[in-house]
Symmetry: C2
Subunit: 325 residues, 2 copies
């Protein structure tokens, strides 16, 4: 049932340099073979925002980027528009007003097509509003601040691709601890998930969350919560006692079904990745040389020195490092 | 050993109206009989700030307010200055720079006199810097933001009136979730306590915390924490998984020793208190009338009406409400 994956970005993902979040989205959608549908309905500058994402996805090697832009609920019933999702491997919803997006899409044939794409194996996600809409219960709007207060935030109905959680975005940058907790205080069965900017919560198999990007994903689990949210007066600070808190930076893995932290793998910086790849290439050459039977460590070092001379763009390195002398 | 109480205010407590926090401090210090020592060393406007608190405490009925203002570490060794704490029932440290306060006071005879006053039964506390300094491990400074990051905050040594916790202030208003968690990430044995503005964490018997005021006290318990703070790189977002979170508004009681929520009692608004007191006075009068044996409910209502006429400042009320007719 969960063939695809979900991609909830906290907004303001890098588009020019260090595009780790959008690069991960493209990889999840199939890389060069990806066929990405951009839905910019949440944005007021829908046309322009499509061009931005078309440029970024193209720069990241994607050959096909298609815009699907319903500007009313009626348009989400248009069979021609809905058909454009038929062979999508990725669906990307932009930021903006999630209530506009959800009220135009949720419960329409376009909404159903997004579900079908997800169950067929596509990655479905987006940034900011496009992240909030993924869950069944969606934060519609609310105010900032660390301390949860009564009536601080409002729920509406999202796409429902994932049940039992509520997704907030711009989490650190707009100080949204309070509004996320105010939702969980009223509905402790919902897992509260707050995504920082330039950061993504990637959900695979419907429950395995991995964090990608520059910030963190904050998970608030109210399983054992004591709260007075059912009785507190308007704007009063809420009692919110006994929640379990997880702040998960890039490389963290979390199981949404069991609500448990799985592991953290320190992401390796791209520079180190290139170094390791170069070292692996050297090792492969060494293995070939050994196989071709004309090798000793000293021979290998000499050959390496000769090889280096053919690649003048590389930095000169002391050959003593690979010389057993 | 814990005869006194501690009073950690998150800064910006109301001084003109709804002075619930400072009123609670005065009550804790003995009300009209209180003898309050104000230590304004953290403030750069020490003289002026003493006059502010002298005015407020006097307005709240305190007869004796004394200033003790060391402006160097040497002055905290001055026996005359230290002697002014001898019969204090309350010690109030103002806001400002907690490192100035702690470096001038901690480990000096003045610091020892504060400990003695506390163990003798005085209430010791303060606002902002004056709250931070109460614990053994003190947040010296740090930067704002929701997500904990490596090197976001710095510890120094506080007065040590309470062990095992670290107190942050202006918690909601300056978005200090991140910095409090960054401390607990490195030292999970410390209980992180964040106090909002115009709010106080009152600690009695060395471990029973009660919340007073307009905001909330946030408690971060890292007993079961998984973190990468021992290895994360400078400024990287920290893994902070499995903490227990408590947001405690006014009327909440929390046991710092067992790290458990005790109960929440909805504070009654002052208007309701006055109404109940008036009703109680009426009931007492009724009881007296019954005792003096000339009473029936109709008699009582008539008498009440007559009583009302002598108090013309009160609003006219329909007497039918107390008339059994």
């Amino acid at each position: 049932m969960h063939a695809g994956s979900l991609f909830a970005i906290g907004g303001a993902e890098a588009k020019l340099r260090r595009r780790n979040v959008l690069r991960a989205f493209v990889a999840e959608a199939g890389g060069a073979d990806a066929r990405i549908v951009v839905i910019p309905t949440a944005s007021s500058l829908g046309v322009e925002v499509v061009e931005v994402y078309r440029a970024v996805f193209t720069a990241l090697g994607v050959s096909t980027v298609v815009a699907v832009r319903p500007e009313s609920r009626a348009e989400s019933y248009d069979p021609d528009l809905v058909a454009r999702l038929d062979d999508a491997t990725g669906i990307f919803m932009t930021g903006g007003n999630q209530l506009k997006l959800s009220s135009f899409v949720t419960g329409t044939p376009l909404g159903a097509a997004i579900h079908q794409a997800y169950h067929r194996g596509a990655v479905v996600g987006g940034t900011s509003a496009g992240a909030s809409i993924l869950s069944d219960h969606m934060i519609a709007f609310g105010s900032g601040g660390s301390t949860p207060k009564q009536r601080m935030s409002q729920l509406a109905v999202g796409l429902g691709l994932i049940p039992g959680m509520v997704i907030d975005q711009h989490f650190e940058q707009r100080n949204r601890y309070g509004r996320l907790m105010s939702i969980v205080a009223q509905s402790p069965s919902l897992l509260g998930v707050g995504v920082d900017e330039d950061t993504a919560a990637v959900v695979r198999q419907g429950h395995l969350l991995e964090v990608v990007g520059r910030g963190a994903v904050t998970v608030v689990d109210g399983s054992n919560l004591t709260s007075n949210a059912y009785t507190a007066k308007r704007t009063a600070p809420l009692l919110f006692s006994g929640a379990t808190l997880h702040v998960l930076p890039a490389g963290s893995h979390f199981d949404l079904a069991t609500r448990t932290f799985v592991r953290h793998v320190t992401p390796v910086p791209p520079d180190e990745v290139r170094e390791v790849q170069a070292a692996e290439a050297d090792l492969r050459r060494l293995a070939r040389d050994i196989a071709s039977d004309d090798v000793s460590p000293a021979n290998y070092a000499r050959r390496l020195r000769r090889g280096r001379q053919h690649r003048p763009s590389e930095e000169a390195q002391p050959t003593a490092m690979v010389d057993p002398q």
